[in-house]
Amino acid sequence: MTVKNKFTMTLDAKSANESFARACISAFAAQLDPTLEEISDIKTAVSEAVTNCIVHAYGETFGKIYISAELTDTNIIKIKIRDKGCGIENIEKAMEPLYTTVGGERAGLGFAVMQSFMDNVKVSSRVGKGTTITMSKKISRRFNING
C-alpha cells in the first residue's frame, strides 16, 4: 500500500473554520471518486473531530488545529486531526455515547458519529499536551475505469 497524495494544513481553532475544514477534506477525498454518501460520512466525521478541538481541547483558550490526510493506492483515505489542547483524561469514558463534559446543547455523540461513519477511529491523548484522532475509510469506486 503506497500513499498517492497527501496534504497538511493548520487552522485557527475557530468555529467558523469547521465548514472550511469540511470543504477541504471533501475536495481532497473527491480524488478517490467517492459516492455522495461516502463524502458526507467523511465530512461529518471531520466536523466532529474539529468541533471537539474547539469545544473541548481549547475551550476558552486559543489554539491551532493540525489536519493532514492521505490517499492510498488501495483507495483508502486516512485523516489525522491533532490539537495541543487540554487532552482527555479518560478516553474510554469520552467515547461513550451521550457522555459530555460541557452539557447544555452538546449531544455527547461526537466519537459515536466518527466511529459509525468511518471504518477505523483511533484516539491518543495526553493530559495537558493534546489529542490526536486518526481515522480512515475505504472508498468504493463509483466507476471502475479498468472495467
Binding site: 469547521e18 461529518t44 446543547e105 452538546r106 459515536a112
Partner: protein, 103 residues
C-alpha cells in the same frame, strides 16, 4: 444557515436551511426558542428539507428543543430529513423523543 418561522394556530414550524454545525447551531437555536417562547405552541415542527449538512450539533439542537418542550407538554416533529441527516437522527435515537419523517 437560515431559519424561517411559520405560526399557524398552536403549531410553530421552523424551516431550517444550509449547514447545521456547532458554528451555526446557536443562531438557529435562538430563532426557534424565541418563536416558541412567544407563541407557546402545542406542536413544534422542525423542517430539515433545505439542510444540506448536519453533524452532532444538530442532534444537540433537537435534544435541547425537546427538553424545553417537555416542560410545557408540547410535542416535537421532525419532517423532510434528507437521507444523511435521517441516518444521523436515527443513530442518536431521536425517534424516541420526536416523530421522525424522512424526505
Amino acid at each position: 444557515m437560515s431559519v424561517k418561522i411559520n405560526v399557524t394556530g398552536e403549531v410553530v414550524t421552523a424551516y431550517l436551511g444550509g449547514e447545521l454545525d456547532h458554528h451555526t447551531a446557536k443562531e438557529m437555536r435562538e430563532a426557534i426558542d424565541n418563536a416558541v417562547e412567544l407563541n407557546m405552541p402545542t406542536l413544534l415542527i422542525l423542517d430539515f428539507k433545505d439542510v444540506n449538512f448536519m453533524d452532532s450539533s444538530g442532534i444537540g439542537l433537537v435534544m435541547g428543543r425537546y427538553r424545553n418542550l417537555v416542560k410545557t407538554g408540547a410535542e416535537l416533529h421532525i419532517t423532510q430529513a434528507p437521507p444523511q441527516i435521517y441516518k444521523m437522527l436515527k443513530l442518536a435515537g431521536i425517534e424516541r423523543l420526536a416523530k421522525l419523517e424522512g424526505r
